[in-house]
């Protein structure tokens, strides 16, 4: 029952056989060695597994790998090909993260927002990342870092 799927992963073509019931998160992490999306809840509730599907943030833990056949997937590994992004530098500057486990998902969600809306106001920022859980920080420094980037450029 295995199927071969082809998709673009961080700009590179990928061809892999998957079972229909394999989740995208597991295929990325366990079979393709892409470790930045994290397993946090398995039910789309925490956002740690966020990846971009054709530029849009999705929960890879409730997405079947087979669904992305022919699509384009981006993870942090793809964003960072030329070093840290402006957003990541701002996170660093603002001491935005503590343990860092939610950072990849948060970063991709914020990246999607800034691409769609380069100068969001604080309310728009809060709304965009509202579905990404962080237990450490109290969110404030994450919001501040995104606000900073939104004011630039």
């Amino acid at each position: 029952m295995k199927r071969e799927i082809k998709f673009t992963l961080n700009g590179d073509p990928v061809k892999i056989e998957v079972m229909p019931n394999e989740k995208l998160l597991d295929v990325l992490r366990d079979r393709l060695g892409v470790k930045s999306p994290k397993h946090g809840c398995g039910r789309g509730e925490c956002g740690a597994c966020t990846v971009l599907l054709n530029g849009k943030s999705i929960r890879s833990c409730i997405t079947l790998a087979i669904e992305v056949d022919g699509q384009e997937i981006t993870t942090l590994e793809g964003l960072e090909k030329n070093g840290m992004t402006e957003l990541q530098k701002s996170f660093l500057q603002h001491n935005s993260f503590q343990c860092g486990f939610c950072a990849p998902g948060m970063t991709l969600t914020a990246t999607e927002l800034l691409k769609k809306n380069p100068h969001p106001d604080e309310e728009e920022i809060r709304e965009a990342i509202a579905g990404n859980l962080c237990r450490c920080t109290g969110y404030k420094n994450i919001i501040d870092a995104i606000v900073d980037v939104s004011k630039k450029g």
Binding site: M1, G44, T50, S57, R59, L64, L113
Partner: protein, 293 residues
Amino acid sequence: MNNFDYAKPSTLKEAIDIYKKYGEKAKLLMGGTDLVVLMDDGVLSPEMVIDLKGIEELKKLEFDGEYLHIGAGVTFNELIDSPVVKEKFPVIWEASRTVASTGVRNKATLVGNICSAVPSADSAPALLVRGAIVVIATENGDREVPITEFFTGPRRTVLSPGEIVKEVKVPASNGKFGGSYIKLGRYDGEDLAQVGVATIVTENKDYKIAFCAVAPKPVRAFEAEEFLKGKDLTDDVLEEAAKIAVKAISPISDIRASKEYRLYVSGVLVKRSLKASFSRLNGNGPAYGERLV
């Protein structure tokens, strides 16, 4: 998650054929934000999963002057990003924004939301007050079911195996109206509704009220609508309307809220929603999407 076979047909006919063949043993996949969780929990163990994302015609989102056609493949974020939805169907737009989080709304679809038919489906009250029609593709051609008749119970609809919701079509409004959807979660943010209320108020004092999360299925409050018809929204009228409206619901106690609380809050939200709709009708209400709770 048990194993299953997977098909990604490119036409509705093909999809219906496969669905017919597997019957109850097949499940339809669009956004998957509900289905994959249920399969993962072992609640559903289909033999066949039919991915409808390959069917081009289901991606349609258009307004033809008479109806807004929301194809089965249209995600909540696509609705939110659509100027025509925002302008002409603001209650659907407002309700869409309350669904989960952006990472879920990028995949989850409105049609999927009503097909899952959970009592707390956020899109349902908005569709109920707009008199939406569910267009179902069957092997014998399309059939149309008014949204008021679509839900039959918790996670149950009129759909039978082999039938696929193609689109939801929402009639345009003739005159001026104001509407609103208010959702109360146990706390803000990504959450299932404890109570969801949508209302519409028109120029000629026609009123529509619908609920989610407070009955086995999303419901219209017909009796209250009848009572309100032609009346001005005075304090006493509002009070009475809220009293009648909550007769339409039968909330339960669960981990999100108690029955008593839901009954009470439903009344409060009906009043609040009617008032917001009314002020929007008159052009002096809060902007759509603004916080009403």
